[in-house]
Structure formats: C-alpha cells, structure tokens
C-alpha cells in the first residue's frame, strides 16, 4: 500500500505526461506482479464491484472522527471529494501499512463481500487505523470506486509497454475483455509470446478526430469514403469458434443486452469481426437515442421492449475475415468484404456511403444530417488501414453545426474535485413572457479565467441560497451550444437538450437580449416525437 499511495501522490502532483508515465513505469517495474495487476485495473477504471455503501462508509468515518453528521456534510461540501474528506477527518495516523496492495485487496477488502455490517465496519476502521493519511486516501479512493487520478488508459498502456518491453498494441489488446487482476493476469499481460488465445477479444478501436481546418484541405474527394456519422453505441461484433461477442468501446462485453446481435452472429461466417454503431432501429431508420437508454438500464429484456425498441448494428468496417486480421488492408478492400458478408435483411446494416462529386456538394448534403438523425459525416481515406486509438489523418468526423441559443445565468453551484471551491455548474434560463425559466445546465466551455470572473459575479450577486445552489441576479448572458433538442414533460421549459455547453460569454448582450422559449420551440423537430 505504501508504494501504491506514493504512486497516487506522484501522479497527482504532476501535470506533465512524461512524468506520469515515468512514475507508472517505475511502479510497475518495482512492485510484486499481483500489485501491478491490481494497480493496472484501478488505473484504467476497472474495480471490484462496489462493496460498501457510501452512506455507511460516511457513518463509520463520522464515528471514528468523533464529529456530528452535519459537520461531515459541511466538510464534504468544502472538499468536494468523498474519499478525501474521510481521509482528512480521520484522527491523525499513528502508523503506516507495509502490506502490499494485493494483500489489502484480496485478503482485506474482497472477503467483506460476504460479511455483515458489523464485520465490515470493524474491517474498515481497522484498515484506517493501520494506514497513514496518504494510504487512507488511496484506499478510500479504491473502496468508493471514485478512482480518478488524471491518467488516461493510453498513459497506463505506455507505461506497461515500457515496463514489459512489449508493443503498446499488444498491451492494449490484452487489457481488453474479461480478466481478473492477480499475479496470473500480470504474467499473461507481460508474456513475450503474443499469440493470444482468448477468442472473445476485440481489437482496439480506431477513433476519429474532429475535422480541423477547411474541408478542401483533405485533397481530392475521390480519395475519400464518406458515411453518415451515426449516434449510437460504438461496438465490435465478433464471431469466432461458433460464438458471438459484442464489445462496447468502453471495453465492456455487452452481448447479453442485445439478443438481436447474438442472433445476427449466428448468420455470419466463422472468424469475422465487424465494427459499427449499435442503434435503436425500426422501419428502416434510427429511433431517438433516448429510446436506447430505456433498454440499456434493464437487466431483463421483455418481449415488449424488444419489439418497441429493436436494435441493429450499422456496420462500417471489417477487421477480421476467416480468422485473419485484415486491419492493415485498405479500407476499400475491407468495405467490399463487409458488404459480402452482411446477411441481407438482418440486424446488420452496412453503413451507406454518401456520394458527392465535390466537397462543396458534400457540404450541401450536410444539411440533411439532422433530418436523418445523424451527427454529421465520417470522412475516411479509401486506402487507410484500421489504426489503433485516436489518430489524425485517415479518419475525420465532420459534425453538423450544433444548435445555439443565448441564455441567462440564473443559478450557480460549486463544482466537484478540482473545481470544488468555485461556482462552476450553472443553470441558464430563457424568457417565457417576462419570466426566465430554467432551460439547460452547463458546466463546460469557459476558460479558467472566465470561470473565476463568473465565480466572483456569483458571490457578489447572490439573491438567494438553496443549500449549495445560489440564485443570482439575471445579468450574464451566454451562448449555449447543444447537439440535439427534444420535447420533455419532465423539464419546466418543456424542452430537453443534449450536451449543452457554453460556447461564448456574450458580454455584449444584456439579459433582455436572450432568447425566448418561443424561438427555441421553433428548433424542435416537427416530425416523429419520442415516446419517452
């Protein structure tokens, strides 16, 4: 736990990528294999199922710290991080634990799964007493599952590659799929023989950057394949050894949520991997993505939901054919093979190619995107291989211009984590007659400097307090950008927007210049309405 707590502190103390990778590499190279495996799991966001309820954890910490509940609440509010609040409030540490990380996890934490509350409480309190403050913090982060330390999976992969001497692609590949942290996994992860047996394993996804600069700079349009950019769940559909697997880009095995795709797999030839977007799809067109959310949360999929919200995979690439990795072949080749294997009339729809003779013509067709319920275009170089991770050059996404609206800041509340002591979370209103109605919440888009200025405004112009939320004088106007708009009976404005963010602070506008609900309603799609 010592080395792990030090690693956490080292990662936390630098903003420099190379220093983070160095700290990780040193850690992986110096700790026991089982520790390295568990640390890898935590750092890339895999964690044991949450064993302990926050409420109980807080209760035990409160008792151990000897403070009243309300004071814990005040402290949490000031810190903005649950694990940290507990670490700061516990009585000063009298010792420091030299037990390794995997012992803490395997022998002290996981057995609590089958324990009653009394045993859990005793184990937790004893753990806190054995640890120093840094260790308590890292431990609390582990048990609360809020393990974020500003390290992306790709940095972890770089460090693992450096520590093991393997290629980053091999490491990425081996980190996918189902595995149980422990010494055995570490041996497989770092094995020199890179022929991997696990038939379920997907390939690392190739991701596109948003288009930079002008479209004409991409050169001759004939060198490019253009597709609609579908808004679904990015997934790989795998058929190997007579079995079907569906993996999300979050590297989660999601086969059991989509029986339609399981059935599709049986119609595919042996040894294929297709890449695409899983979409709620009915009568030849996508349903609003909100419909998909009705399905995702469910454990049991009844016949009703399956018939109301059927899914399909809009496939756009083929990565493996007859068991052979074809990612290095040109897109043109892979696409032709995909068209050959897609069973007609099945839940696999080959993503249509958008034809345009010139970039200009394509730009015109971009306006169809909204009515087609797509997010814009994907632009792919016809001779490109299927690469690993987010890369510039061969694939670009060209989104439709988002909607935008001018709205007035009406409520603010403090953020979390590193933004905990600033008012960074805002609610915006638009005019309904002479009243401002809450319309959207947004947290992102401002520079740190702007956030400071808004924060100072909020403090100086609070009109009312509701717990952490401040009502402020309606004076500041912001241009909000968002991706989608729907009617919503659950919102006071009657409208819900997707991915709202602050595009610009309109210091040139007064509150009275902001948009009205009426003009916003005009943006609503006139055709099909979601049932939700």
């Amino acid at each position: 736990m010592k080395a792990f707590a030090e690693l956490y502190a080292a990662l936390d103390e630098t903003t420099k990528t190379n220093e983070k990778v160095d700290a990780l590499t040193r850690y992986f190279s110096s700790v026991p294999p089982a520790d390295a495996a568990w640390a890898t799991a935590f750092l890339i966001g895999r964690r044991p199922k949450r064993l302990l309820e926050s409420r109980k954890l807080a209760q035990w910490a409160i008792e151990e710290a000897g403070i009243p509940d309300w004071l814990f609440g005040e402290c949490y509010h000031a810190v903005g991080d649950f694990a940290e609040t507990i670490a700061l409030l516990l009585p000063p540490a009298g010792s420091s634990s030299s037990l390794p990380l995997h012992t803490w996890i395997e022998e002290r934490l996981l057995p609590l799964r089958d324990a009653g509350d009394d045993a859990r409480r005793a184990a937790l309190v004893s753990a806190w007493r054995e640890m120093d403050e840094r260790q308590r913090f890292a431990w609390n982060k582990i048990i609360t599952g809020e393990f974020r330390v500003g390290v992306s999976q790709s940095l972890v992969v770089r460090a693992l590659a450096a520590a093991s001497g393997l290629h980053a692609e091999v490491v990425s590949h081996r980190l996918m799929g189902d595995w149980q942290p422990g010494a055995g996994f570490w041996v497989r992860l770092t094995a020199e023989d890179t022929r991997d047996a696990d038939v379920s394993r997907p390939y690392p996804f190739f991701l596109a950057y948003p288009l930079e600069g002008e479209i004409e700079q991409l050169g001759d349009i004939r060198a490019w394949q253009v597709e609609w950019k579908w808004d679904g769940i990015r997934a790989q559909l795998i058929r190997r050894h007579g079995r079907t697997y569906v993996w999300s880009r979050g590297e989660e095995l999601i086969t059991d949520r989509f029986p339609e795709l399981e059935a599709l797999g049986a119609q595919l030839p042996e040894g294929v991997v297709a890449d695409g977007e899983v979409l709620p799809w009915k009568d030849g067109q996508p349903l609003p993505f909100a419909q998909m959310q009705r399905r995702i949360g469910r454990k049991v999929l009844g016949p009703r939901i399956l018939s109301e919200v059927p899914v399909a995979i809009v496939a756009f690439d083929l990565l493996e054919l007859r068991g052979e990795d074809i990612r290095e072949r040109p897109l043109e080749f892979r696409r032709a093979r995909l068209e050959e294997i897609a069973p007609p009339g099945s839940a696999m729809i080959v993503s249509p190619v958008v034809r345009a003779a010139t970039w200009e013509e394509l730009a015109m067709r971009r306006q169809e995107a909204r009515s087609r319920k797509v997010e814009g275009f994907m632009l792919k170089r016809l001779d490109s291989p299927y690469r690993v991770g987010r890369r510039r050059g061969d694939w670009w996404k060209w989104k439709i211009d988002p909607y935008s609206v001018d709205a007035v800041l009406i409520y603010a509340q403090p953020g979390h984590g590193r933004r905990a002591s600033l008012f960074t979370d805002y609610t915006f209103g638009v005019w309904d007659g002479d009243e401002l109605v809450p319309f959207a919440k947004a947290y992102s888009g401002l520079t740190d400097e702007e956030i400071r200025r808004v924060d100072a405004f909020v403090r100086a112009n609070t009109t009312e307090k509701f717990g952490p939320v401040r009502a402020v004088k309606p004076e500041l106007v912001f241009e909000l950008a968002f991706e989608g708009i729907q009617r919503s009976p659950r919102h006071r404005s009657g409208i819900a927007v997707r991915f709202p963010r602050m595009a610009r602070w309109r210091t040139d506008k007064k509150a009275g210049d902001a948009d009205s609900l009426e003009t916003i309603r005009a943006l609503l799609p006139s055709t099909t309405e979601p049932r939700a």
Binding site: E13, T14, W70, L71, E74, V79, D81, L89, S421
Partner: protein, 276 residues
C-alpha cells in the same frame, strides 16, 4: 490606512486608556507585530483576536491567551478538515522537494505570501542546500524583518541577478500572485510549490496547476481555533471571517453563546485564498 492616518504605536501589554476604556495589545502569533486587542470597560473584557496561530514561529512573538468574557475570533479555517501537520515535517518536505528538483536540474519556485509567510518559510529552510532568491515584494519585507532584528538566511533579489544565472540549484521565493506571470519564465525549467493552509485540500492545489502544495499556514487550524477559544475562558464567542457558520454551530453545541458577525472585507476569504 491612508497616508493621513494618525498612527500611535503601542508595545505588547502596554495599556492605553481612552474615555475610561482600557485598551492593550497582545501577541497573536500570526506575523511580526500582529496583535490581539483587549478592551476593558463598563465591567466587561473583550478580546478581538485578529488573525492568529498557535504554532511556534521564530519570526514573531507567540500567541498569548488573554482571559476575557467575550472573544471575537477569526475562523478562516473553521472546519475539522483543516488540521496542520507539524511545521518541521512541512519544512522537511519542502527541502526534500528542493533537493529532488536540484537533482532533476530544475529550479524550485516557492510561492508564499510576501509578508509573514515568506519570512517564516525562510527561517525554516536550510540555506546550506543552495542559493535562495526572492521576488521584489518578498525582498522588501525581508528587509523590514531584518531591521526589526529577525534573523533570516541570506537572500538575493532575483531582479539583481545577472541574466546568465544558473537557477537549477536555487529556491526562489515569490508571492502567489506571480504564479502564471511572465516574470517566472527566466527560471525555466522549474517546479512550482505553494505554502498555504489551503493546500490541505487537493482540489485547491490542482486548480492552480501547481506541482506541489505545502500545508503551512499563519492562521490557526480547527484544533487551534478551539484551543484559543477555550484558553480565553470566554463564555461568549463572536466568529468572523472564513467558515463562520459551522464554527458557530459547533460552539453552540459545546455550550457557548456564539454568533457569526459579518466581516467587513467579505471577499477576502476567497480572493486572498492563496495568502494565508
């Protein structure tokens, strides 16, 4: 205070009588010359703490508990999450950071409030580790401290150093406001740390994109506030500045007659976050 203000100085403990009210100043342990104000009259004794701390500080007189019926206390860090580590440990951390930076060929830029904190930091550092440079704002207060007889290690105003100076072994003391300013460019590559009580919270450090935060405050922590309140013997406590509401609530639950009073400079706690 404007230049026209009539200023009368008073030694610690020396009484002054104004309209039958007896006024005296007592060490607050905050910075050099900081004082609590004791006021006795009409059969009552009040003490206004001002900013104070209880930890020993070689650059100023230690906090002196002054018995009173009503104690008006600051509460900048009035939450139990604010619990200071012993200063010796903090100085050891700063020195270890400085040494590690030297080994990595980087300068060490330590941000500390130029009046008080910078001098306390200086007094705690071992000048044998390497040269110590200062920002002009820090250097002018160093001069005042030295004139007042406070021993501080040798410092050089960074502005007087030749352009060819090798900063890689140096520690540079600068006010927090220098963070992100072009003045810092000359020290590159460097690691930046801040000495402040706010550094107890991770988010406060990360928000400033600092490499290191050192928990060193010239204000009392939660335990210090409670201890000062107890040792005043006061039954009535007025709380001002910082986390007033939780402190008042806590004191009430402990049987004190407590209330929050509006601070005159309300913005101070947030604006001057880096200062304490």
């Amino acid at each position: 205070m404007g230049g026209e203000a009539a200023i009368q100085t008073l030694a610690y403990g020396e009484p002054l009588t104004l309209d039958g009210v007896r006024v005296s100043l007592h060490p607050a342990g905050h910075i050099l010359g900081s004082a609590q104000v004791r006021i006795e009259g009409h059969g009552e004794t009040w003490v206004f703490s001002g900013d104070y701390k209880l930890e020993p500080d070689p650059t100023c007189a230690p906090f002196e508990p002054v018995p009173c019926e009503t104690f008006v206390t600051e509460s900048t860090f009035g939450l139990p999450i604010y619990c200071w580590p012993p200063a010796v440990e903090v100085f050891a951390d700063i020195q270890a950071w400085w040494t590690a930076n030297q080994q990595a060929g980087k300068a060490s830029v330590l941000f500390a409030y130029s009046l008080g904190k910078a001098q306390r930091a200086l007094a705690g550092l071992d000048p044998a580790l390497g040269p110590i440079y200062t920002h002009g704002a820090v250097e002018s207060f160093n001069r005042l401290y030295r004139e007042a007889g406070i021993a501080l290690p040798l410092t050089t105003h960074a502005g007087d150093a030749p352009a060819s100076t090798d900063w890689s072994r140096a520690l540079i003391l600068a006010p927090p406001s220098a963070n992100g300013s072009p003045w810092l460019r000359r020290f590159r590559p460097f690691s930046a740390g801040l000495a402040s009580g706010w550094m107890r919270i991770r988010g406060a450090r990360r928000r400033r994109s600092l490499d290191r935060g050192f928990v060193l405050s010239d204000h009392a922590d939660w335990g210090g506030l409670l201890s000062a309140i107890r040792s005043s013997g006061a039954g009535r406590v007025w709380v001002t500045h910082g986390y007033r509401a939780p402190m008042v609530e806590w004191l009430k639950q402990q049987g004190y007659e407590a209330q929050a009073i509006e601070a005159r400079f309300e913005a101070e706690q947030d604006e001057a976050e880096a200062a304490p």
